[in-house]
Symmetry: C2
Subunit: 314 residues, 2 copies
């Protein structure tokens, strides 16, 4: 009997030390970065091959934690004498808006991602938030992916628009938040924005709306996932990255990119984001287990249910 | 064979002539008001007994339209020589925010709702947006309602807080938008706000979130309904009233106030709101039919579906 090999999931993006203050408390030089958040969220579903860069100041216990989550660090460059990318910011009572205090690119300023040979055959590729030129370099190195997905942020929409458009022309899925989608397309309707992004290239567009859930646009159809009703959010940092990691980790684990699978994946992404914001940095991920994940997935079913449904409907 | 009598649905609230400008166009002295919007939306499910007041300037064709929708106008006072309540306002590109230009209470300044005798036995009562003292007067006149529900607005939360709290202590359901819920309770979390309102009195709280759908809080459980993905909104005026009318009209038509029925009712309310905003004033309601309503209800099922469900789950 031949066993189907587990598909490979490659994630590239920022690895960071974050200093964050929220109305609930603060974290100083804590593990952060889009690639760290998304890889750890994905790792609950699938092994991950990580590509990123850190300085020699990056605490070894963070690397140990990532390794312990079944994340392959062969693709992580450690620049001796270099400083890790650092972001500091705060959230006021409107937790939807991150206020940046300082950004130090440090080792990211000269980073050029080089994929280890065994990463090039990756089946699933997530280009987490990072300079779109670096996202293109990664796309150029993977040989035959089944599914590629990119995230981005306002900084690149403003400063690297043409490189970002090239990325969007080549990926299968774009995942971004509602403000970014409207900014990218210059429209005030999130629905119109999603459809216009589909015209640029990605067949599938996912809009993250924070406390209002997430939308999936696929094949002219529309799926709306609720959010989990948290009364208290400790730290919203990394929610979108955890969402994207949970989403693509679930798809890779099932090796199924049908619309039906993607709808479930959006909910698993929402589950991971809802856990992530319960604590600072990646702390909630350190104690999370699959039983808790499945229990919250069931809670999402209960939150969204209003009439008898059958599998036949999608 | 005894036939179960159709339950009576009573709606009280403002009847108005609105002048509205939006990025799409404008309407002048058009049929509006919370009671008109909610009664017409409800009338697609159940006959309505309407309580309100207009001046003798209120066009007879509006009364004819309401009558044609199976809305009983016995409870509508027509003040000879009086002027109908008028509101004028505009929406910028953020269609969630109504900017008021002028409000003329006119005949509403001296209005005291008096229920016709056959209205007092109403089974379902919706106190649409109106002075909470008038809402209390109506509550004092109904004899044995099965279900009472109230709406309100920022103006009464600021100016008539203690009367509003008395209303909330006495109704079964409060329906309000997210900003109003947070304002009423002085909290920044919509989830916390809903739970605090339940502590004031209503067992059920419904939060309207416009383009982000609606939330139902019931028995310690939480239901999130999506919104319909409209690319263009002609006029958001009356969306919340149409939602509430569709919601309570559906409940009255089924004479079922179980949680399961309320979840479906939230979706029917969302369906009615989504149609209402497609045109100015109540114009879309003039051509709407039950086939279109049922077709959009099915679309909501498709939008929310992500996994096999059975009726057993709620």
């Amino acid at each position: 009997m031949t066993q189907t090999p587990q598909p490979n999931l490659l994630i590239v993006g920022s690895m960071a030390l974050d200093t964050v203050k929220t109305p609930i408390g603060e974290a100083v030089d804590a593990l952060g970065g889009a690639a760290d958040y998304s890889s750890v969220a994905a790792s609950f579903f699938s092994p991950v091959q990580l590509v990123g860069v850190v300085g020699s100041d990056f605490p070894v216990e963070h690397l140990d934690f990532l390794s312990s989550r079944n994340i392959d660090l062969t693709g992580v460059q450690i620049v001796q004498g270099g400083q890790t990318f650092r972001w500091s910011g705060y959230y006021d009572f409107d937790l939807n808006v991150a206020h940046t205090l300082e950004t130090h690119l440090n080792v990211f300023a000269d980073f050029s991602p080089t994929l280890p040979d065994d990463y090039r055959a990756a089946d699933y590729v997530f280009l987490a938030n990072i300079d779109p030129d670096l996202q293109l370099e990664v796309l150029n190195q993977v040989t035959n992916p089944k599914l590629t997905m990119c995230d981005t942020m306002n900084f690149w929409i403003e400063g690297k628009r043409s490189a970002l458009l090239k990325v969007l022309e080549r990926v299968d899925i774009a995942v971004l938040n509602d403000a970014e989608a409207r900014q990218l397309t210059g429209t005030l309707s999130t629905i119109k924005a999603a459809k216009e992004i589909q015209c640029i290239g990605p067949k599938v567009v996912i809009i993250k709306k924070g406390e209002h859930g997430a939308l999936l646009f696929h094949n002219g159809r529309h799926f709306s996932a609720p959010s989990y009703p948290l009364e208290t959010i400790a730290d919203p940092t990394g929610a979108g990255d955890s969402f994207a990691g949970g989403f693509i980790g679930y798809l890779a684990s099932k090796d199924d990119i049908s619309e039906k699978s993607m709808r479930k994946a959006v909910v698993y992404g929402s589950v991971m984001a809802s856990f992530n914001v319960e604590d600072f940095s990646l702390n909630r991920m350190r104690t999370l287990d699959s039983k808790q994940i499945n229990s919250r997935y069931q809670a999402f079913r209960d939150i969204a249910f209003f009439d008898a449904w059958s599998d036949a409907e999608v």
